[in-house]
C-alpha cells in the first residue's frame, strides 16, 4: 500500500472515532447528530479516497470515487430531514441551549 493511503485511512479512522465519542457523550439529539454526521461522513470519505488512491483508475477505484459525493449528499440531506422532523415532533432541546433561532423563523 501507498504511504498516502495509509495516512488517509488513519486520519479517517481518527475522525470516525471522534464522531462516535461525540455520539455517546453529548447531551442532546441535535448536538449528537451535528457531531456524529459531520465527523463520520468526512472520515468515511477519507477512507474511500484512500481506496481510490490504492486502486487507481480501475473499476473499484472509480466506484469508490463515485461513492464519495453520493455519501456526502445522502448523509447530510438525510441528517437535515431527520433533525427537522425531530423538531417538528417536539423533542426538547437541552437546558444549556443559548438561542433557538428556528423557533422564531417558524412563527
Amino acid at each position: 500500500m501507498n504511504n498516502i493511503s495509509v495516512i488517509l485511512i488513519i486520519v479517517g479512522i481518527a475522525f470516525d472515532l471522534f464522531g462516535c465519542i461525540g455520539l455517546l457523550r453529548l447531551p442532546d439529539l441535535y448536538n449528537r447528530l451535528q457531531s456524529a454526521t459531520k465527523c463520520v461522513t468526512l472520515g468515511t470519505c477519507s477512507i474511500l479516497l484512500a481506496l481510490f488512491l490504492h486502486y487507481g483508475f480501475t473499476s473499484v477505484g472509480v466506484k469508490a470515487l463515485i461513492a464519495i459525493p453520493l455519501l456526502f449528499f445522502a448523509s447530510t440531506v438525510g441528517a437535515h430531514i431527520l433533525i427537522r422532523g425531530a423538531y417538528k415532533y417536539g423533542l426538547k432541546l437541552t437546558d444549556k441551549t443559548v438561542v433557538d433561532e428556528y423557533k422564531e423563523v417558524d412563527q
Binding site: M1, I9, L23, T41, I47, A64, G85, A86
Partner: protein, 85 residues
C-alpha cells in the same frame, strides 16, 4: 496493520449500538443506526483492502442508498406526528 484498524472500526460500531440501547427516544436510535450505516461503508472499504474481494464496493454503494431511504422515511414519519404540548 489493516486488521488493527478494522478492529477499531468494529469497536466504534459497537459504540453506536450502545447508543441504540441507551437512546431515550426513537429519533436517538435512528440517528445511531444512520451513523452505523456510514461506518459500515468504511468497514467495506477496509475489507476490500484486506481480502481483495472487489464486489464489496457495490455493497457499500447499496448500503448508502438504503440508509438514506430509511432516514428520509423516519424524518417524514416524525414530521406528521406532533406531540400535543
Amino acid at each position: 496493520m489493516i486488521d488493527i484498524l478494522l478492529y477499531i472500526l468494529m469497536g466504534m460500531s459497537f459504540l453506536c449500538f450502545i447508543r441504540v440501547l441507551l437512546g431515550p427516544t426513537m429519533a436517538d436510535r435512528m440517528v445511531a443506526i444512520d451513523i452505523f450505516g456510514i461506518l459500515v461503508v468504511g468497514i467495506c472499504a477496509l475489507l476490500i483492502l484486506k481480502t481483495g474481494r472487489l464486489f464489496l464496493i457495490d455493497v457499500a454503494i447499496a448500503w448508502i442508498m438504503l440508509s438514506f431511504i430509511g432516514t428520509i422515511a423516519l424524518g417524514k414519519y416524525l414530521t406528521r406526528n406532533k406531540l400535543d404540548e
